[in-house]
């Protein structure tokens, strides 16, 4: 084994090209055993391609990767025994019941009938799908399907769990339910690779965050480290009148440490500040002097969205032109 027991997943200089598009342009990553790596990036950044390579669904053009000590291209079958994958779309069979879906996956991992049946029941209880166990999955809500799909990834108690955008397309309730389940998984000490477009999700669930854009890793570290990288705090205001925005921007430029950002549509303006509450009080005093009505005011540490914006020049969640 090349990778030490401390590292569950390692990738070195992964490159993958589709036609003229370079989906991965030299991705390195390392996931210590028992930790959660959150891979964060917009659509088309290369998250799913990375996942597909690490789960043996796709071969890289160059570069190497090991999962649980096995080379993904040389020993794909050993890698498959060590992983559980929950893909971007809940890959459950709609006409099968929850129980049948999990039973089938257990059987395909090589379990005998009794073991596969027992494991399916165990997981249905754990994922609170007991009452729906005998119903076809097409009657499930989005959140329930996701939970069933997640349960499918855990059937063989894999050393490494790979979750590709586990909450994409879910309503807020479904998202909360899914987070809860992933949280329990993490508490149990699983090694998890999680991809997401949602900064909040990476912030909540991941030990380490890898920011990826255009097939390259552009930053990595804990959420706190990434936030402190761009320094300072954010002062954000919401005005009553859009007409007051230019005057407000001027005030913010004076108290802030960089150019303020103004959004006319939401009547919102924000600016990075170095002096915290002093800057807040100063800004409000000057606005008050000009009779500008403020509806909402906040001072907060930068969010991961701010981090993304400052690293890439565009927001993580904004839709990019396909190029």
């Amino acid at each position: 084994m090349t990778a030490s027991n401390q590292v569950a997943v390692r990738a070195e200089a992964l490159i993958k090209t589709f036609g003229n598009t370079r989906a991965l342009d030299g991705v390195d990553l390392e996931i210590p055993t028992g930790t959660v790596l959150g891979m964060l990036g917009p659509n088309g950044a290369g998250k799913t391609t990375t996942v597909r390579i690490l789960t043996t669904l796709l071969r890289p053009d160059s570069g190497r990767a090991w999962v649980a000590g096995h080379d993904v291209t040389a020993e794909p079958d050993k890698v498959r025994r060590a992983i559980g994958l929950s893909g971007q779309y809940a890959a459950v069979d709609e006409n099968l019941t929850g129980y049948e879906n999990l039973y089938m996956v257990g059987r395909l991992y090589g379990m005998n009938r009794a073991r596969a049946g027992a494991r399916a029941k165990e997981l249905l209880t754990r994922f609170r799908l007991n009452e729906a166990a005998e119903r076809p999955a097409k009657t499930y809500s989005g959140g329930m399907r996701r939970r069933l799909d997640l349960a499918g990834a855990l059937v063989a108690e894999p050393a490494v769990v790979v979750l590709d955008e586990p909450t994409t397309g879910l309503d807020p309730r479904g998202r909360m339910e899914t987070w809860e389940v992933i949280g329990e998984l993490v508490a149990d000490g699983a090694t998890v690779l999680l991809t997401t477009q949602y900064l909040e999700e990476a912030d909540q669930l991941a030990d380490t965050i890898l920011v990826i854009d255009h097939g390259k890793v552009i930053a990595s570290g804990t959420a706190d480290k990434l936030k402190s990288q761009i320094g300072g705090e954010r002062l954000e205001l919401v005005l009553a009148e859009a007409a007051d925005l230019p005057a407000t921007a001027k005030v913010l430029a004076e108290v802030g440490s960089a150019e303020p950002v103004v959004d006319e549509h939401t009547r919102r303006a924000h600016v990075p500040v170095d002096t915290g509450s002093k800057a807040l009080i100063e800004a409000l005093r000057r606005l008050d002097a000009q009779d500008i009505a403020v509806l909402d005011v906040s001072l907060h540490r930068p969010t991961l969205d701010d981090v993304f914006l400052s690293l890439t020049g565009h927001s993580a969640e904004e839709e990019k032109d396909p190029s």
């Binding site: 796709l58 890959a91 049948e100 089938m104 996956v105 395909l108």
Partner: protein, 268 residues
Amino acid sequence: MTVLTQGLRDGSIVAWRNLLNVRRNADWLFAAVIQPVMFVLLFAYVFAGSIGSNPAAYREFLLAGIFVQTVAFNSAFTVIGLANDLQKGIIDRFRSLPMSRLAVLLGRTVSDLVVSCGALLIMSLCGLVVGWRIRGSFLDAVAAYLLLLLFAFALSWVGALIGLAAPSVEVAQSAGLVWLFPVSFISSAFVSVGGMPGPLRAFAEWNPFTSVINAVRQLFGNPSPPGLPMPHGWPVDHAVLYTVLCAAVILLIFVPLSVAKYRKVASK
């Protein structure tokens, strides 16, 4: 476990799952039960009245053609089934499991074979109602059904490759059917090959569809009606052997191609 025994074990699990889908899905029931009944009745009464001088004899002649055409069209189930699984990400999950690379395709072709068995049973019963009879020996009849199923199984693997290669379920749906029309109609299914113009006739004579239809007619003992002479030639005189050879060649080509495609296929 050897490659083959793991393939059979995992394949049977996938087939079990597919058959549960068939049982719980009304579309499949329609395609597997109602469509064959409709074909038998339409062809038996609409065509039989206008082709040949003896409708009853033509009906008996026709049934083998309908049997073959229906099980051949069942290969479209393989196409659509795989295209659906691909689109829904189920193939991704299967490919990430430590299961045989043969299993998903074998499970699909075997479950579609079970559907064809059901279709053949229903068509045979309908056939008996409209005047078709098994006039040969019991063993010949068994051989005829086995030949039909072998042919269905071979075409199902052609369907597997189409299903994996199709860019979408919609394309799969038409691609899985469209090639079947010319090859099933330019055959001895409904008419005498002898009446076709030169090139079509040559194609029809060597067409595996003609061969399996002739073989099944011979084994069931269903004679050609007056006015539809049976031409002679090597494929006609050795219909059973030629059919088995064709099925073997189709399998030898399409099983490895489909498995190779499955190894690389990406979800749509």
